[in-house]
């Protein structure tokens, strides 16, 4: 469907920027040798184009494409002068700042493999934060860690004996190296790693090649009908795939501008997102489901609020709810939000980003099905006399990706049957960095087995749950068993007697983590609960919603002797309901 008013400027198979980039390279076909680095080379005319409006502390820094390239080159020269070799990993642990963009692209220009990691919050204890990275640093091996001078002593003390070069932004900014760097990586070389899932030490680095990233962005931009009139507005952190791909690399490669806000500032002042949209005539915005609720709760709909420029609000990264859309459209109707703008994307780092996307301009489909048939038989029945459940479509696969729904033996299931979602196509990841066994387990014969459950209906994917113990809190992924491992280390917890569960709270529009731990000590419950919360926060950045300290023997086990997550969640919910009444 052609967009109204943009039909002439839009080329259905490739965005204008891609077409123009090809013309500059003077070739008539898509060059397979293209990499992300190719797109950093800009003509004098394009050097003046704005890439990003970087909002922070009430000020806006305008980053133009030419300057972006220059600053990235400075970092590239610095990395090479410091001994970083092509193919080595550069971990970037910095606060939200333009240095993030420069260092990331600079590492790529130097032929290295950058990866963003979350910066510790002021509430995290530095000793524990750095200690929790030891395992990851050891796995990365020779490579570099870029952070601030003020962190170096803590890294040396708490993560000693690791082979990473410790580099600082302060050194980089004064560095005057004359190194000429213009790495020419191959399209099949790994461009960067995404460490977006799991706790720090056990995080897997999803390795993505230049070719996979370019194919994803090209296909996704086509699906979104991106044109030069678009403007992306984002508060998302860059260590997360939604921030990194949709709101950094997609604008970089398609040539549309992006307004970047500071995630911490946005959480405290959510209205700044709407202000940015109004000022820059924003058209596209990606949000995890919880963020829709956060905006409804905290931003007052005033006559000054103007969101009419928006084409789509894309719900992604955690289960999307029809109810969320209803509340959001209702709350901000006066500002110009309508149901047709509210869209869904199913995405993951292992496919670079989007797997499916609903059609822009059309309300996504909701299916109401029999709850019991869905849960017990994995069957999708729209005729029912009992309890029903409404599921929002995530749309069709983007071009270049295929979806299969498979049973436990890997056999394909027909439409309307629930099974594991498997994906194949031309933008799959190359593997988990230095984790061959894990890669073999998840990536088999060209198919990536997601661990998510869902069904296909009329070609559209509906996601219904997860096979594993993944808990998604505000768009970030945590594995229950990894959290339980951390809780086990807390003095005062009865060893092996704790459980982490995901508890969906409709008012937050997201799951929250609840930990139930049996006390093995004479400690006061509140002290033990605070200790557990602090430990999890320090090592993962996650603020646990509630820690319930229970007496020995409280936790329910399955018949096979394992602590049951579902049964204990039910028991906890009963207690919570009782306390409320």
């Amino acid at each position: 469907m052609a967009r109204k008013g943009h039909a002439l400027s839009f080329v259905p198979t490739e965005s204008r920027f891609f077409r123009r980039a090809l013309a500059e390279e003077d070739c008539g076909v898509v060059e397979t040798s293209e990499t992300i680095v190719t797109f950093l080379r800009v003509t004098e005319e394009r050097a003046k184009e704005v890439f990003c409006y970087f909002w922070q502390s009430g000020a806006v820094q305008v980053i133009r494409r030419g300057a972006l390239r220059q600053e990235a080159e400075k970092y590239a020269r610095f990395f090479r002068a410091q001994g970083v070799q092509p193919g080595e990993v550069v971990l970037i642990i910095l606060r939200h700042s333009p240095d993030l963009l420069h260092a990331f692209l600079g590492a790529m220009l130097a032929g290295a493999i950058p990866s963003f990691m979350p910066f510790p919050t002021s509430k995290q204890e530095p000793a524990l934060y750095w200690r929790s990275h030891r395992q990851l640093f050891a796995r990365i091996g020779t490579g570099a860690l870029l952070t601030y001078e003020s962190n170096i002593a803590a890294v040396r003390e708490h993560a000693p004996d690791q082979p990473l070069h410790l580099l600082t932004v302060e050194q980089a900014l004064v560095s005057q190296c004359a190194f000429v760097v213009d790495a020419d990586p191959s399209a099949e070389a790994v461009a960067f790693l995404q460490h977006s899932s799991g706790t720090t030490g056990l995080k897997k680095g999803v390795a993505l090649t230049h070719a996979a990233v370019l194919r994803q962005v090209r296909s996704y931009a086509t699906k979104l009908q991106i044109t030069q009139e678009d403007c992306i507005v984002s508060w998302l952190p860059l260590y997360h795939d939604m921030g990194l791909i949709a709101c950094f690399l997609l604008p970089l490669l398609t040539g549309v501008p992006v307004v970047m806000l500071d995630p911490f500032e946005w959480v405290a002042r959510p209205g700044m997102l709407f202000e940015a949209i109004r000022q820059y005539r924003g058209t596209l915005c990606w949000l995890p489901n919880f963020a829709f609720h956060h905006l409804c709760r905290t931003v007052r709909s005033t006559p000054q609020l103007d969101l009419r420029s928006m084409r789509a609000w894309i719900d992604c990264s955690e289960p999307c709810r029809a109810e969320t859309f209803r509340i959001f459209a209702h709350t901000f109707a006066r500002a110009g939000v309508c149901a047709e703008q509210l869209q869904v994307c199913y995405a993951m780092a292992e496919t670079v980003f989007a797997v499916t996307q609903t059609d822009l301009g059309v309300m996504p489909r909701t299916m109401t099905v029999d709850a019991a048939a869905l849960r017990t038989q994995g069957a999708v029945c729209s005729v029912t006399t009992g309890e029903t459940v409404s599921i929002l479509s995530t749309g069709r696969p983007i071009s270049g990706l295929d979806i299969a729904i498979v049973d436990n033996t890997g056999q394909r299931l027909p439409e309307g049957r629930v099974g594991e979602i498997a994906i194949s196509g031309d933008c799959l990841f190359a593997g988990y960095y230095k984790l061959e066994e894990e890669t073999r387990r998840k990536l088999r014969h060209g198919w990536y087995y997601t661990g998510d459950l869902g069904f296909l209906h009329a070609g559209e994917l509906f996601v219904t749950g997860r096979k594993h113990d993944l808990i998604i809190v505000h768009g970030r992924n945590y594995y229950a068993h990894e959290l339980e491992y951390l809780v086990n280390q807390v003095p005062g917890v009865h060893p092996g007697r704790n459980v982490a569960v995901g508890w969906f709270r409709p008012e937050a529009g997201s799951e929250e983590v609840v930990i139930i731990a049996e006390s093995g000590d004479q400690l006061e419950d509140a002290t033990l609960a605070s200790r557990i919360k602090q430990t999890v926060l320090d090592q993962t950045g996650l603020l646990v919603f509630d820690v319930h300290v229970a007496p020995p023997g409280w936790l329910v086990k399955t018949t096979s002797g394992k602590i049951s997550r579902s049964e204990n969640l039910r028991k906890y919910q009963c207690l919570a309901d009782l306390a409320r009444s």
Binding site: G58, F264, E265, A268, P270, T298, S530, F545
Partner: protein, 82 residues
């Protein structure tokens, strides 16, 4: 109004917004000690404070608060300078 006078009003807002039930809140209480007080709930608490006390909390100050006592002190300071 002093920090001590602000504290009970602040406690009422926190308990109401976090839905945490009656819990003891004093100057040393951190968000971590209260069930359900995460960064999102924090924003709602700050909004309620602004409405209740009729003031605007500066972003750079609220991002660095460590406990309820410091929040009460900030409110007292802003009210005093208003």
């Amino acid at each position: 109004m002093t920090s001590e006078e602000i504290l009970p009003q602040l406690t009422r807002i926190i308990i109401e917004v976090a839905h945490c039930g009656p819990v003891p809140i004093n100057r040393a209480t951190r968000a971590l000690d209260v069930r359900g007080w995460d960064s999102l709930t924090h924003t709602t608490i700050l909004m309620q404070i602004e409405d209740h006390f009729g003031l605007r909390l500066p972003l750079e100050r609220v991002l660095n608060l460590r406990n309820v006592g410091e929040l009460a002190d900030l409110i007292a300071e802003l009210r005093h300078s208003a």
